[in-house]
């Protein structure tokens, strides 16, 4: 699908999203707004382990004795571009998990365009900052477990999940705050593409593109249970993301048990209206947290970080705000 065709669909859905029923059925009921916590992190030199552990515990994340898999967005080691979740953020979250009593902590990624894991989670810059108890796993090359696709959009009967994903007791998604040249933004939900091994799906995971990127994101969101999310917004990427864009300092980490609430809040911080982003609108049909009133922002005042990310012309119609 060409970008402008996709965007036509997105615009139509966005216009219809105010009408009940058009975003995939009634939202999941929940007792209280979804918490999203903002932590101020002006640069990557600051060790955030204690603060992250405190927020995770406050959000009710229980990791004692569990096998935890951290899924960063780590796709292209490139010193001049903020493409990946920063190693210091990955390390802070990994060490926070150990602090909370996790029995095993693994950092795993199935990069979608690089086969060579040296450019991904086996990169020395990451391994150098991790506690020796934290393993790094190249999930592109290895065993997979077939699980039924619990969504109905892509038409794929099943997903082959990396074994590390299937066997984890707790999955924590750690995306980078970036624009995306096909989807508008790439955050927690899009990050799930990296749970699928390349030896099954190729480089890039073209089967998922063929079945519709947004369809595949949504099906994965219904199939893969994510227990917690931490978005690296210390330095994001604007413009022609997710690889060729420019650095955009925001100075914040976003933490939440709710993927869509985290994505919607991050989008607002980036100057995009999540109710104008097709896959977020559709995710609102089965996940809580799309609307601002569904989210309880905690920690720092979001006004401190709110900005407007530059983006490709096609995505400027997704902008909105001010939201805070």
């Amino acid at each position: 699908m060409r970008r402008r065709d996709f965007l036509k669909g997105a615009a139509a859905l966005a216009n219809g999203a105010a009408l009940p029923g058009l975003a995939g059925g009634p939202p999941q009921t929940r007792p209280a707004p979804c918490p999203v916590t903002l932590l101020a992190v002006p640069d990557y030199r600051r060790d955030m382990e204690k603060e992250i552990a405190a927020v995770m515990a406050d959000d009710g994340l229980v990791l004692k004795g569990k096998k935890v898999l951290l899924k960063p967005n780590f796709v292209e080691a490139h010193p001049e571009r903020p493409i990946n979740t920063h190693p210091s953020v990955i390390a802070s979250v990994a060490h926070a998990c150990l602090r909370l009593g996790a029995a095993e902590v693994t950092v795993g990624e199935a990069s979608g365009h690089r086969r060579d894991p040296w450019f991904s989670v086996l990169n020395p810059t990451l391994r150098a900052v991790l506690d020796r108890r934290v393993r790094t796993v190249d999930m592109n090359h290895g065993d997979a477990v077939a699980v039924p696709n619990r969504g109905r959009r892509s038409g794929l009967p099943q997903f082959y999940l990396a074994r590390a994903v299937a066997e984890a007791d707790a999955l924590i998604s750690l995306p980078k705050m970036k624009t995306h040249h096909w989807m508008g933004v790439t955050l927690c939900l899009k990050n799930l593409f990296g749970t699928l091994p390349g030896i099954y799906y190729g480089w890039p995971k073209n089967l998922l593109h063929f079945r519709g990127i947004e369809n595949s994101i949504l099906d994965l969101a219904q199939t893969v249970k994510v227990h917690y999310n931490v978005i690296d917004g210390v330095v994001g990427m604007e413009g022609d993301g997710p690889i060729m864009g420019r650095a955009r300092p925001v100075g914040a980490l976003l933490l939440s048990p709710f993927s869509l609430a985290a994505d919607a809040t991050a989008s607002r911080l980036m100057g995009f209206d999540p109710r104008r982003i097709l896959y977020l609108i559709q995710a609102g049909g089965f996940l809580p947290g799309l609307k601002a009133e569904d989210v309880a922002v905690r920690g720092e005042n979001p006004r401190r970080f709110a900005t407007v990310f530059d983006c490709l012309e096609d995505f400027k119609r997704m902008r909105g705000g001010p939201f805070f």
Binding site: W118, R127, G142, D143, L207, H209, F210, M244
Partner: protein, 286 residues
């Protein structure tokens, strides 16, 4: 059959990766077809008749389906059919002509999907290559492997092989190199990769089109000192040597990487590719 050479200590170390008749990518994993195939190519240069090669070959041969395809595992039918191309190269090197021809038959039936050209993407989407997954677009790596398989089998002039090389030339980044298969998007060149560049260069060894790959050769030769990974060193050395470029420096570094003690992150497929690279690109050439 390639004649047996002097016993190679690296090949002995490669054999240590074998488990349950196959080679896992990583020590904690299950035997993997791709890692086993690359190990077989490494063994073909020095110990083609050894017990390790025989066991690996038996396992791979048993995976070949009635249609000639070779996939990831019997438990996951239809998955990883891109492995048929490297399997065909291995079958050729071990003189299993019937298995090779059935694999080539499957490859010739497998075509990438074509679509209309998109002004945002700098490539000709109407050229047919080979996909990772049936029913999707063509990409550099599966197309390169399929073209190599046809080339070593004496079918480098087959129309699909010719179109495969045309596909690769179209996907070459203008300033040199290849990535997974998009040279540019939105008027910007994308970043080249060491491994896919080395692999694509192998396709043009002793085949037409070599004159047009000079930007990629220059790129790889000029940047070889920046390559740090075993995977990158292996495929870059193969691509450069295939076209007569000096590989003394890169092979020295490759040798050092292979000699370092393996750990739980050592990818056996990359180790095997490194052993192949030290022996030279002949297993990939007609």
């Amino acid at each position: 059959m390639i004649p047996a050479a002097e016993p190679n200590p690296l090949v002995r170390r490669l054999a240590a990766f074998v488990r349950d008749g196959g080679v896992p990518y990583y020590p904690s994993g299950e035997p993997a077809v791709e890692a086993s195939l690359l190990a077989l190519l490494a063994l073909s240069a020095s110990e083609p008749g050894g017990q390790t090669a025989k066991a690996l070959l038996a396992r791979i041969s048993a995976l070949q389906g009635p249609d000639g395809s070779v996939g990831l595992a019997p438990a996951h039918p239809g998955q990883g059919l891109w492995l048929t191309a490297p399997a065909a190269v291995v079958f050729h090197r071990y003189d299993l002509k019937a298995a090779r021809d059935r694999a080539l038959g499957f490859l010739l039936s497998l075509k990438s999907v074509t679509v209309a050209n998109d002004p945002n993407v700098r490539q000709d989407n109407t050229i047919v290559g080979w996909p990772w997954v049936a029913g999707t677009f063509g990409w550099v790596e599966p197309t390169a492997w399929a073209a190599i398989a046809l080339g070593v089998s004496g079918q480098g002039g087959h129309p699909r092989a010719v179109e495969g090389r045309r596909f690769l030339l179209d996907r070459q980044i203008p300033s040199g190199g290849w990535n997974y298969g998009n040279p540019g998007v939105n008027d910007r060149e994308l970043l080249p990769f060491w491994d896919t560049t080395g692999l694509a260069l192998l396709v043009f060894g002793r085949q037409p089109g070599a004159a047009r790959i000079r930007p990629s050769l220059d790129f790889l030769e000029g940047n070889q000192d920046r390559i740090e990974s075993l995977c990158g060193l292996a495929w870059a050395a193969l691509g450069l040597e295939c076209h007569g470029r000096d590989t003394a420096r890169i092979k020295k570094r490759l040798r050092a990487a292979l000699d370092s003690p393996p750990d739980d992150t050592t990818n056996a497929a990359h180790f095997a590719a490194g052993v192949v690279a030290l022996a030279g690109p002949k297993v990939f050439l007609p």
